[in-house]
């Protein structure tokens, strides 16, 4: 039996009640699909992932991607076939516009499918994830001609995509990048420079790789205002769509990493002794940073989603192990026999600690994703604007909190396995190594916290945030939270006090004081929103005719989350409001 079975029941529950997928699918712009067929689609997708992708996970970890003498990258056994089958089955393209060959469904449903893909092999899943990013960029900012030229093959997966931001001196500080673009007479550009840490920068799973590269046009202003976005294909594409000669794009080396070994992390060189690589400008010059911002929500949500995926995988593995491993004797067990460790209260606690937070993450991220869908196709401008504001507030939570918790969950999963957990053969350690990166790339979690405090909280001077809190408060007052109102109310008060403090810091220009509390603030707000959604879930499961066992488990995970996890965040209020003095006193710069 495989060690992962797609959690379709909980996914469908969250899609139905928390993300309200049904209403999303009724919006003009999305394809229609009756809600009762969603489950069948997810089951079929899940079956595919388990049969085709899951078997590549271990071999990917042990072999890794390898750079060959000719600068090509050899992928581990099974990847080529899994990728081809994925393209054939079309699971990567269901959320893209039908015009480009996609299924036209909401991104939130795509989230569910990519959760299962990532759970079965995180390193593999990054190839479609990055392609997704490239598609979003071209779709949002490319010309009509660029869209019809590049998108169909990217949407089908025949070609893959990458995102090239990072350089040795430009990581979190994207504005420091130095890659150059020189305009040519024919309207194209010659791109030169080096990019590092480029995920799936080179491989042969797809026939062509479409690199999206941030670079500076000669004479552009310094910093983020002088960055432009280019399409730079690995192979130039002829006007009739056939592949032409190789562009001046080379993978110089692959990084040796802690995890996601099968994902090639490349040092990419654009241009060579003969000149630059041919690139095509997207939109206008110097708009690159603004263009990246419009895609930020969905890219960051994608990474937050990997937190759910790995947590689910870890949970199922740990649960199975705890049922089988015999150690110690419970009072009800005969003398001379040993009990399965799942019967020990501390092991049960560890399992529930994982399960309750995993479900909470799924609520938060899927809810957030639904807001991103509403931002695109909400009925009125007002709907779209308010969805955009709220999605902006929640995205740093989905990205940072989910991946921080997933790291902790992977560690607890190892703990449940005892000594065996530390031994590679058991397989659980891979998830711990794999998920570590999710807290770093796509904007480190520290950057997420800063974004939340410095950009999102101040939207309309805190009004957008307050509207979210009022919605939570309304459910508390109307008793819609399955008897879990009290801890939620406490967290609500702590959040309000923190908001007041942080906004005052900004108005008094004590920016460092506000930033000093950013990370604990992100944790508080994340747990409050997730706790609210979990309490709602429990109420719905109890009152809406769900099987008794499902409702009871939901009620238990919600209660554990709200009564045992949420208060740890409520207690962070003093840390949020401590200011920067203690940091300055404790750490000498």
């Amino acid at each position: 039996m495989s060690d992962y079975s797609p959690p379709v029941e909980d996914i469908v529950f969250v899609l139905r009640h928390i993300a309200d997928l049904e209403s999303l699918m009724e919006l003009d712009g999305f394809s229609q699909l009756p809600m009762d067929e969603v489950e069948g689609i997810l089951e079929e997708a899940g079956r595919f992932m388990v049969a085709e992708v899951l078997p590549t996970d271990r071999v990917g970890d042990t072999t890794g991607a390898k750079l060959q003498a000719d600068s090509s990258v050899a992928m581990p056994d099974g990847f080529d076939k899994a990728y081809k089958e994925l393209v054939k089955a079309g699971w990567g393209s269901i959320t893209f516009d039908a015009e480009w060959g996609g299924g036209g469904l909401p991104g939130t449903l795509g989230m569910a499918i990519s959760e299962m893909l990532t759970a079965t092999n995180m390193a593999f899943s990054l190839c479609p994830l990055l392609t997704h990013g490239a598609i979003n960029a071209i779709e949002a900012h490319g010309s009509e001609e660029q869209k019809s030229f590049w998108l169909p093959n990217l949407v089908s997966g025949k070609w893959s995509g990458t995102m090239n931001l990072t350089e040795p001196n430009a990581g979190s500080d994207v504005g420091a990048l130095t890659a150059k673009a020189k305009p040519e007479a024919d309207g194209t550009y010659k791109i030169t420079g080096q990019k590092i840490f480029i995920t799936y920068g080179e491989h042969e799973l797809a026939e062509n790789i479409i690199h999206l590269v941030l670079a500076r046009v000669e004479g552009a202003p310094p910093g983020t205002k002088g960055i432009s976005l280019f399409i730079v294909p690995k192979f130039l594409v002829n006007a009739d769509g056939t592949l032409g000669e190789k562009n001046a794009v080379t993978c110089l080396s692959l990084e040796e990493k802690m995890g996601i070994h099968a994902s090639p992390t490349c040092v990419m060189e654009y241009g060579n002794s003969d000149g630059g690589a041919t690139g095509y400008l997207i939109g206008e010059e110097n708009q690159g940073m603004a263009q990246m911002f419009t895609m930020m929500n969905s890219a960051r949500l994608g990474v937050g989603n990997s937190g759910i995926a790995i947590s689910e995988r870890v949970y199922q593995k740990s649960l199975n192990y705890a049922k089988e491993r015999l150690q110690g004797r419970r009072p009800e067990t005969q003398k001379g026999d040993q009990s399965p460790i799942i019967e020990h209260p501390d092991v049960k606690r560890n399992l529930l600690y994982i399960k309750s937070q995993l479900e909470a993450m799924r609520c938060l991220v899927y809810y957030n994703s639904a807001l991103v869908d509403l931002t695109r196709f909400g009925k009125t401008q007002e709907d779209r604007t308010s969805a955009d504001e709220r999605a902006g507030i929640l995205t740093p939570l989905s990205k940072a909190w989910s991946t921080d918790v997933a790291n902790e969950i992977a560690s607890v999963g190892i703990q449940i396995h005892g000594g065996a957990g530390y031994i590679e053969e058991t397989g659980i350690a891979q998830h711990y190594r794999d998920i570590r990166i999710a807290a770093i790339y796509e904007g480190t979690n520290g950057i997420q916290a800063a974004d939340l405090v410095a950009r999102k909280l101040p939207i309309r001077n805190g009004e957008a945030m307050e509207e979210l809190l009022l919605e939570i408060e309304k459910d508390v007052k109307e008793n819609k939270l399955d008897d879990l109102s009290e801890p939620i109310n406490d967290a609500l008060s702590a959040t309000r006090a923190s908001n007041k403090y942080l906004l005052e810091c900004f108005s008094e220009l004590k920016i460092d004081a506000a930033l000093s509390g950013a990370t604990p603030y992100l944790e508080l707000l994340s747990k409050l929103v997730a706790g609210w959604l979990m309490a709602k879930s429990a109420e719905i499961a109890r009152t809406e005719n769900y099987p008794k066992e499902f409702a009871e488990e939901k009620s238990a995970t919600a209660e554990f989350f709200c009564k045992q996890i949420l208060p740890t965040a409520t207690a962070l209020a003093p840390a949020i409001m401590a200011g920067d003095e203690i940091l300055n006193a404790g750490i000498n710069v």
Binding site: S5, E44, R47, F48, E52, K88, A89, G90
Partner: protein, 258 residues
């Protein structure tokens, strides 16, 4: 060329099944899925229809109007499906199943019927030949490949030592060995398209079958006892004292593998 494929819908083997204490049969109340064994027949039929032209129709008998497994096969590319479902079918044995399937197959008037050699859950491996007998058609078993040649089929028929090449006039029944082709995955687009494909549900009355031939009453097969699977025995360890290769060869001979 019209190719009918018999597909059985069974409880998911990945989930722990349970037996009904009274009848000693497998409980089938939950959702049923396409038997993996039959996915090979479906794939083979789709490939034949692709190369020789024609259409693929599915036939299944299952409790509670179950269509989940049929939807999977429709999403793979079959054109239409016939489902026989009727409360009176409860307790039907392999021969009764063959009678029902034969009657349903007649309504589709195919040129070729494909089945698996045996199902995953029942695995009596008798239904295909019973269908052939009831239709008075020839039958070929254990096919590893099939080609259509005018009004006959050429079949490579797997044997213990290799394969036989046989020819058989159509219409006929051919059972397909598991693992001989790689079944395609239902694609997202295939699943969406499957929703609007014809799926006809029939009762035994529709097929004109006498209730005494089926169900518990008609069953000539009875499960008298069930026993636990014996625990797996410890393996034999061979220590190499220079003659390990001989011991391994002897062991394989004993197992009749070489």
């Amino acid at each position: 060329m019209k190719i009918a494929v018999c597909v059985k819908q069974i409880p998911d083997p990945a989930e722990e099944g349970s037996l009904d204490d009274a009848t000693k049969t497998l409980k089938r109340e939950g959702k049923l899925i396409l038997d993996d064994s039959d996915a090979y027949g479906v794939e083979m039929a789709l490939q034949l229809a692709d190369s020789a032209g024609g259409e693929v129709v599915l036939v299944s008998m299952a409790p509670n109007g179950e269509t989940n497994g049929l939807r999977t096969a429709l999403a793979m590319g079959a054109e239409s499906a016939i489902l026989v479902s009727d409360p009176a079918l409860q307790g039907t044995d392999a021969l009764g199943t063959a009678k029902v399937l034969a009657a349903a197959l007649k309504t589709a008037s195919p040129d070729l019927i494909l089945t698996a050699t045996e199902s995953t859950d029942g695995y009596t491996g008798t239904v295909p030949e019973q269908i052939a007998e009831l239709l008075e058609w020839p039958s070929v078993t254990f096919a590893k490949s099939i080609t259509i040649d005018g009004d006959k089929v050429k079949v490579e028929r797997q044997t213990e030592v290799g394969y036989d090449e046989v020819e058989c006039p159509t219409p006929c029944v051919v059972s397909v060995t598991a693992g001989v082709v790689e079944p395609r995955y239902p694609s997202f687009k295939g699943i969406m398209a499957a929703k609007s494909k014809p799926l006809e549900e029939k009762t035994i009355a529709d097929l004109g079958i006498d209730a005494s031939q089926i169900g518990w009453e008609g069953a000539r097969q009875e499960i008298v006892d069930v026993a636990e699977v014996p625990a797996r025995e410890a393996g034999e360890v061979i220590t190499d004292e220079g003659d390990a290769h001989e011991k391994i060869v002897d062991f394989l001979k004993e197992m009749k593998v070489v």
